[in-house]
Structures are given as structure tokens and as C-alpha cells.
């Protein structure tokens, strides 16, 4: 499994394809500490104003902060606004 993954990665590197699409990995964009946009998520696990846990292929993405709001939520993308203190990835 790990070997095939390595081969895949090599091929994509040679072809210069965006890895988040080809390997279906989440892409996290942070704008200051005010906004976090997560692409390629697999759903929300927990949502409160201080902690948001989002499932993804690599594992659970944990966004911590205060006054967290989900500005919009689509099947491919979640954008979180508020004061982001901490982002953890638990794989």
C-alpha cells in the first residue's frame, strides 16, 4: 500500500499534477487568523463556536479558536471565519 502510494506520488510529481486533486487530499488555506478554507473535506464531525472538527482523507482536521462561524458549506469546501488559534491534523 505504501509502495503504490509512493509510485503514485512520483508519477504525479513528474506530471506536475496538483496533488490535492489527484490524491484527494485536503487543502487548507489560511488568511491571517481570520479565515480558514478547507477544500476536499469529508464532512463535519463536531461543530461549536470554539472547536470545529472536520473529517478528511488524511485524518481529522481540528480547528480551534473563538467565535467560529461557518460562512458557507459546500460538498467540496468549508470556509470558517472567526479567530483561529490552532489547527491540528490528527492522522
Amino acid at each position: 500500500m505504501k509502495k503504490t502510494n509512493n509510485i503514485k506520488t512520483n508519477i504525479y510529481e513528474v506530471l506536475e499534477l496538483p496533488i490535492e486533486i489527484t490524491m484527494d487530499l485536503p487543502k487548507i488555506t489560511l488568511i491571517g487568523n481570520q479565515e480558514a478554507i478547507i477544500y476536499n473535506h469529508k464532512g463535519i464531525i463536531e461543530y461549536s463556536s470554539t472547536l470545529i472538527r472536520i473529517n478528511s482523507r488524511t485524518g481529522i482536521i481540528k480547528v480551534m479558536g473563538s467565535d467560529l462561524e461557518i460562512r458557507n458549506i459546500l460538498s467540496e469546501e468549508i470556509s470558517i471565519v472567526g479567530i483561529v488559534d490552532n489547527i491540528e491534523i490528527l492522522s
Binding site: 464532512g43 463535519i44 464531525i45 463536531e46 461543530y47 461549536s48 463556536s49 467560529l68 462561524e69 461557518i70 460562512r71 458557507n72 458549506i73 459546500l74 460538498s75
Partner: protein, 393 residues
């Protein structure tokens, strides 16, 4: 961002509060069902507030029921909701429609008749005549057209030289120019001035009614007041009367005629060059050859190819003829030209001179400038230059 907001407003959305324990599950289900949700706010552990589009509201409610939550609509925002609200206010809608219908009906009538440019005919007369024929303020626009009004006026007033009729909104505008009419025709019920219809030097003023304002040997220009219809009475107020009288003045007429001394005459030399062509259904075929003449006249002769009376064949034969011409310069006798010019000029002046004018002098000047002989004829007359113009109140 603004564009998205406007779009959401136009499509309409609701703010909904959802209570329950499985809120994350609900959100994930909404995601998989492609329900567009935005502005989520977690109020506490079991409550969330969110915006959802009108299209997504029904499936979301189904999901709320499925997950055992409770939904409560807090606010409806957007154009569709506002339209709904208007639907419930029937009287407002009726009033709105009534307003439009009312304005439409009111603007389909003529409310004002404006007449410009009238001098010798009283406006009241024209308006009265129009209203006798069904055109007055308050008549419907569809009853007459601009052209009809024009014809109506031309038929009644034969001395109107120009009439422009315009219907603009609720206003009927008439722009009228009159020819000078004999003073007897002018309606004596209305106060009038006598003004000059052309420039001249005053010889004699006979004011039968009104006050003369010009003196003998005074130069007057066109449109100048000659006999005033406004008479000042002893207490200083003005009294309007219909001025009457004759104003004799010396006026001049001028006409200028030119004629070349060397005249070019085109003459055919008798040489001929012909070409043939065909015409099929009004489209010509022509066999072009160079024409061997520099000056020529072109004649085109069409012939039917088959001469049968009852069938019109679309094929026709065309003959192009070119006849050579020669340009000759002929020197004319100056005396003859002078005479003919003089006659032409006098002819022009005779058409212009008013009836009853007394001719005082006649000057004829011949001038040669290059190849051209100019003849100027000046005729001086003594005539009545007065024209009655109605005073506007």
C-alpha cells in the same frame, strides 16, 4: 461577495434555527444532498442558526425531520417573499394599477392647444374653428391625426403658407406662417397694429384709426410699427383699437440676371459608333469595346427579340449608340444679350411687385465680368407697405 449577496436576495432565502442533538449529522446530510447553506452560527450545544436558499428549504426540512431535530424559521429575506407580501395587500396592488391606467387615460387626450407664428389671424378664431370640427382641449388623440388637422386648416385658411402640426404628449402645437393678406380680410373685432411688410422710406401716413408713430421721409425696416393700435387716453391708460390706414412708402426691387458672352454649343458631327447587348430579366449583358470618341452622346434603344404581342419575352436586345459631338464656342452679340437680360430681369420684378404700386423710377446697369454679362434692374415704387398684425393680449 456583493454579487453573491444580491443573487441570494433575488432568489430569496430564510434564516432558520435548528434544535437537536445530531446537528453535525444533519449538516453532513445536507452536504451530500447538495443543499446550499451559509452563515452557520452555533448558539449552544443543541442549537444552530443558518441561512438556506428557498430551493433548499424543503429538502432541509425533510432532513430535519429525519434526524429528529426541530426547525423554526426566524426570518424570510429576499424578493420572492416581498412579492408574496404585496400579493396579500390587494388594495395596494389595485391602487398601483389604477394609477397607471389613470395616467394612461389622461395622457391620451389633448389638453392644450398652442399656436405660434400667427400675426394677422386671431388665435381665438383658429381655436374656435378647430373646436367646431371636433378638435379642442379634451378631445381624444385617436380621433384625428396631425395630417388631418393640417388639411383642415389649409382648406379653411387659404392664405396660410406653412402649417406644422405636432402632437406631443397632451399638447397640440401648431406652427403657422401666413402670407400677407389684404387689410380688409383681417377681422376687425380684434385690436391690431399696422407694421411694415418691407423696408422703405415713408412718404405719407394716413391713419384712419390708431396713432401714427412714423414720420415722413423716415426709413423703416421690415416689421417696424407704423400705426399703433394702442392709444393713450387722457388718464394715462391704454386703449386697444383696430388700427386702420394707409402708409405709402418708397421701396425698391432688384433683380440680377447673368449670361455668358461666349456660349458653348454641343453639335453632332455625324459619326456613329454602335454596340449591341442583351437584356435577360432586367439584367443586362453588354459587350464592352472602347468608344473611339472623346465627346459623345449615348442613346440606348431596346428591341424585343421576338415580336409576339401576347407573350412578353424576358429576353431583349439592346442597341447602344454613341454619336460623336463637337463643342463649339459661339460669341454672342452683346446688345442682344443686354436686351434679353433686361427683359428677364423685368419679368422677375413684375412678379414681385404688389398690386397698386406706382412705379417711380427704373435703373438698368450692365456689367461685364470676364466672360459673363451681369444685368441689374432696380425698380423704385411707391406703395402701401402696411400689414395688419393682431395685438396679443
Amino acid at each position: 461577495m456583493l454579487a453573491i449577496k444580491i443573487w441570494n436576495y433575488l432568489k430569496g432565502y430564510v434564516i432558520i434555527r435548528i434544535e437537536g442533538l445530531a446537528l453535525e449529522r444533519l449538516l453532513n446530510l445536507a452536504l451530500t444532498n447538495d443543499i446550499y447553506i451559509w452563515d452557520l452560527r452555533r448558539l449552544n450545544y443543541f442549537q444552530v442558526e443558518l441561512c438556506v436558499s428557498l430551493k433548499g428549504l424543503k429538502p432541509l426540512e425533510d432532513l430535519i425531520e429525519k434526524t429528529g431535530c426541530k426547525g423554526e424559521i426566524l426570518k424570510r429575506i429576499g424578493l420572492p417573499h416581498q412579492l408574496n407580501r404585496v400579493k396579500n395587500r390587494k388594495m395596494f396592488l389595485i391602487g398601483f394599477l389604477f394609477f397607471f391606467i389613470f395616467t394612461f387615460i389622461l395622457t391620451s387626450f389633448i389638453w392644450k392647444i398652442e399656436i405660434m407664428g400667427l400675426e394677422q389671424t386671431p388665435k381665438e378664431d383658429v381655436i374656435q374653428y378647430l373646436s367646431d370640427n371636433g378638435i379642442s382641449s379634451g378631445s381624444h388623440k385617436s380621433k384625428f391625426t396631425e395630417e388631418e388637422v393640417k388639411l383642415l386648416l389649409i382648406n379653411e385658411y387659404d392664405y396660410f403658407s406653412f402649417i406644422d402640426v405636432k402632437i406631443r404628449g397632451i399638447k397640440l402645437t401648431l406652427d403657422i406662417k401666413e402670407e400677407d393678406i389684404p387689410p380688409e380680410i383681417v377681422n376687425k373685432d380684434y385690436p391690431a397694429n399696422i407694421v411694415a411688410k418691407k423696408k422703405g422710406v415713408i412718404r405719407k401716413v394716413i391713419a384712419r384709426n390708431g396713432e401714427d408713430v412714423v414720420k415722413e421721409s423716415q426709413v423703416v425696416r421690415q416689421g417696424q410699427l407704423l400705426i399703433s393700435g394702442a392709444i393713450q387716453s387722457q388718464d394715462g391708460s391704454y386703449n386697444l383699437v383696430h388700427a386702420d390706414g394707409e402708409v405709402l412708402a418708397k421701396t425698391s426691387y432688384e433683380a440680377k440676371v447673368s449670361e455668358p458672352i461666349l456660349k458653348k454649343i454641343e453639335k453632332e458631327t455625324g459619326k456613329l459608333f454602335a454596340q449591341r447587348g442583351l437584356k435577360l430579366n432586367n439584367q443586362g449583358i453588354r459587350f464592352i469595346k472602347d468608344i473611339p470618341f472623346s465627346n459623345y452622346k449615348e442613346y440606348i434603344i431596346e428591341e424585343n427579340l421576338f415580336n409576339i404581342d401576347f407573350i412578353d419575352f424576358p429576353i431583349k436586345l439592346i442597341r447602344y449608340e454613341y454619336r460623336e459631338t463637337e463643342i463649339q464656342e459661339v460669341k454672342q452679340n452683346i446688345e442682344t444679350i443686354q436686351n434679353s437680360n433686361q427683359l428677364k430681369a423685368i419679368d422677375i420684378i413684375n412678379q414681385e411687385i404688389a398690386e397698386g404700386a406706382e412705379i417711380v423710377s427704373r435703373d438698368i446697369i450692365h456689367e461685364v465680368e470676364g466672360n459673363i454679362l451681369y444685368t441689374t434692374v432696380i425698380v423704385e415704387t411707391i406703395e402701401d407697405i402696411g400689414k395688419k398684425v393682431i395685438i396679443e393680449k
